[in-house]
Subunit: 344 residues, 2 copies
């Protein structure tokens, strides 16, 4: 990863990508930024220098792809479908944050720390799909626990931050809180409803079976990433008035009795996780403590009394939706393939 | 129910009890109000008249019990253990909102609309226990669904309002939002942490098995109320920054395949429930819409793809923690026993 293009550079995930790449030492001279024509024309600071944001709809994006080895797409699925083939034709490795390529068997779907091995066969140029944020956070914690036994079923109920709906939604949630405090009408242009002092079912499309798209992603992506097409996945995805870290209540069923202390030891030693499980002081993962952290926090680790024969395990996780849930995992993918991309 | 004493009259549940009794036509002349000595001395308005709040620690409470047929206890479990025997000795029917008597086989534990039949054998005076708020809201919706088949397992993840922690906690959550908007330090005296823009594990005690008291109540009370000691109950109880209605993501497993449309029809016809399930417009139960409503809202009704053989059903419920979750159910219990109490 030397020359990088970010599409969607002004959005919530784009901003986080820029911050992580700056930390990683990618200089402004090696970074090209694109956004929708609405956001193009702005200048963004990067490691002390200013970069002009260009329109992703224009012709100049082809030249940027030609000059890049790595492209991060952090815009809509539609934009990804349009631009990914152009970037791949320019010999780039494309890491796509949208859902566009997650079901494509030719595109690896990777949670770093979980199934990095699928990148071994990747010889780029090509597209690597970054999973859905809820899936990444859940699997970062669930995957290592498979050492306890064969995982038969996972039930995930989410407490999802507003950041997943984008930077404008985050800003509107803050505006709603200010309006509430001032006893003024709440702005609802972006969220379409009251978000502050409320929770609501995840705002993605609901299919004919009554399952929303976020829940379906958790199901299909988890099966693919864990390479287990028979895994049963139950989920309810819900938004809560939290700015940027998702929380998840996770109940697992294994094929044999599991021990909560063994689970705790596994989670404590797994990379990318931090156990926060102070029963005495009642301190457990909270999204405000996971925000702007690379680690996914896990706690409330216990045997689930609701599963027969001691085969159940439950825990609570909180992870930054924009970091491990999106931008950080994308950068980790780019780092994992290292020189194995197809760039010249 | 003609002459009523409320202990804990100034608290969140006490205030709701007063409002419901006022709606039911109980006049100030038939209502005696008690609270902790800290809150005693205040006067509260009731149907246009003023009632002085007396100290529950004083001797005058005995005279109040002597003059009452019905006593609502809405204070701590400790207060209930102390006062319930005195009220029963005065021939009162005691409806206790605390956890003090919920495991006592001599005290019926009742969700009205679910297991009212256990009151048939009640010949008072005596104590009737009002279940935990999360249990009431869950079972109001789960119980009628047992017509679909034998319920084997319920998994309940809660999104609980701050009202369950009392009036002071509600007020502090509002103060936190105002402080946040003013860019001032958040007050945390009552909650002990940031509640606004955060979620946190239910603040009850966690036992040696890692299960918190709220989750244990859901398990033991559900089994007792549904009269099924073999029912498996999984739960994770979490507080969210919502003022007064609890939401719950509920996943059920039956002994046979279940049909989501049949479930919807049952829920639509069940008393005390309202189906809010607009998939097209993405309008589902939200706590702000359940607040100050008697009905528990249910929606997101769907077959749970995470249970084998089509035996799973999932839905989302939201109910006012202070109404059906506490005060309303307590008043419904008093009404259900009608003249069958032991009062003179």
């Amino acid at each position: 990863m030397k020359d990088v293009t970010i599409v969607g550079a002004t959005g919530a995930v784009g901003a986080e990508l820029r911050a992580i790449l700056a930390d990683r030492g990618i200089e402004a001279s090696g970074l090209r930024l694109f956004a929708s024509s609405r956001s193009a024309g702005r200048s963004l600071e990067h490691r002390g220098e200013s970069i002009a944001v260009e329109s992703a709809d224009g012709e100049r994006i082809r030249a940027a792809f030609e000059a890049s080895d790595t492209v991060f797409l952090a815009a809509t699925a539609e934009t990804s479908r349009r631009l990914a083939p152009i970037a791949v034709a320019s010999s780039c490795v494309v890491i796509d944050n949208s859902s566009a390529f997650r079901d494509d068997p030719d595109c690896p779907l990777v949670v770093c720390g979980v199934n990095d091995a699928v990148l071994d066969g990747f010889t780029g140029p090509g597209v690597i799909a970054n999973p859905n944020c809820s899936t990444i956070i859940a699997l970062a914690a669930i995957a290592p626990l498979r050492r306890l036994g064969r995982l038969l079923r996972m039930t995930v109920c989410t407490y999802q931050a507003i950041s997943g709906a984008g930077a404008a939604a985050m800003s509107e949630l803050e505006s709603q809180a200010r309006a509430w405090a001032a006893d003024e009408p709440l702005p609802t242009t972006t969220l379409g409803r009251q978000g502050v002092f409320n929770v609501f079912s995840h705002d993605s499309e609901v299919d004919a079976d009554g399952v929303n798209r976020e829940e379906r992603k958790l199901e299909t992506e988890s099966r693919r990433i864990l390479a287990d097409p028979d895994l049963f996945v139950s989920s309810t995805c819900v938004r809560v008035p939290v700015l940027r870290a998702h929380s998840e209540a996770i109940h697992l069923e294994f094929d044999r009795a599991v021990d909560a202390e063994a689970a705790r030891a596994i989670l404590a030693n797994a990379p990318g996780l931090e156990v926060v499980d102070d029963r005495e002081g009642r301190r457990f993962p909270e999204p405000i403590h996971a925000a702007e952290r690379d680690e996914v926090l896990v706690g409330r680790i216990r045997r689930d009394p609701g599963v027969p024969d001691g085969r159940g395990l439950a825990f609570f996780a909180a992870g930054d939706q924009l970091r491990k849930g999106a931008a950080l995992n994308a950068v980790q993918i780019a780092e994992a393939i290292g020189g194995r991309g197809g760039h010249r």
